[in-house]
Amino acid sequence: MDLHFFLILVHIVGTVLGVGGATFAEIFLLKSLRDGVVDPHETSTLRTVYMVLRIGLTLAIISGFGFLVLYRLEGHASYLYNEALWAKIVIILVILVNALVLTAHRVPMWLGSALSLTSWYAALIVGYLIGPGDYGFFEILGYYVVAVAGVAAALFIVRRLIGIHY
């Protein structure tokens, strides 16, 4: 097993934990808010899911930087200017900042949830586009913004259907 393969493995595990964590965080949050109260058991479950999400994010970021160092040392420095890579970096930054503003209660839950969920899936998809893809930085971010709006709208409908109002 060479270093590149090891980094791919770690990156995949991190992404799986992150995307899965974000998905289940949203599902459990919706379940918890159905009766309007988040009880201690639900809080404990959410805390566990967020911990898994953080572990996934950490693994993904560390392995991601590992790739960048490897590209630099192996003479593939041009990859570091790949537009899809930088779009993915922006999306990861959104995940990080979103977590902070959610903790500070500076962003409404409907937007914070949509940003978190969309960003994780977007990072997963954009990761596939790095390399042979012909996608520009602004093109990818344009689709991303549309996706955030779409997910926000979908979550709004789901919340209305299950009786959550906020």
Binding site: I61, F65, R72, L73, A77, S78, Y79, L80, L100, A104
Partner: protein, 147 residues
């Protein structure tokens, strides 16, 4: 040795930025988990210090003679002229600010009860995180110009 220094510089930098992020997150919570906060802030300070030393070794011994000329002669000379120059000087702020944050975490009662004090440390922590992050991203830009 030089490759090891570069790898350690990146890893330690990541640890530092991650620890700074954790410190900001902990300061934003309603109740401060003071032990975790002290550990995060202390880790950030130490990691920035060690990242500075390893990066500094690579920079002084190798970068100036072997990497900088390649960048300056290449398609992206601003990667050194702007990004690297800003990065190497702003980095000097980080151990200073990170140590102030760490020292403040040794006053947990005051952080919990004095909202203005907490706000000032939060601002310093955010600055440390943002600068650390910008410097890390700057490193990607500088590395990408080496061709």
């Amino acid at each position: 040795m030089l490759t090891l220094a570069l790898i350690l510089h990146v890893i330690l930098g990541l640890i530092a930025v991650g620890a700074s992020y954790a410190a900001v997150m902990l300061l934003l919570k309603r109740t401060i988990a003071s032990r975790w906060l002290t550990w995060s802030a202390g880790t950030a300070f130490l990691a920035y210090l060690l990242s500075w030393l390893t990066g500094g070794y690579y920079y002084v011994v190798y970068y100036g003679f072997s990497v900088k000329p390649i960048i300056k002669a290449g398609a992206y000379p601003w990667a050194h002229g702007v990004v690297m120059e800003v990065k190497e000087h702003i980095f000097l702020f980080l151990p200073v600010l990170a140590f102030l944050v760490f020292l403040a975490t040794l006053l947990p009662h005051e952080l919990e009860t004095d909202s203005m004090f907490r706000r000032s440390i939060l601002l310093l922590s955010v600055i440390v995180f943002v600068l650390g992050l910008a410097i890390a991203l700057g490193g990607i830009i500088v590395s990408g110009a080496v061709r």
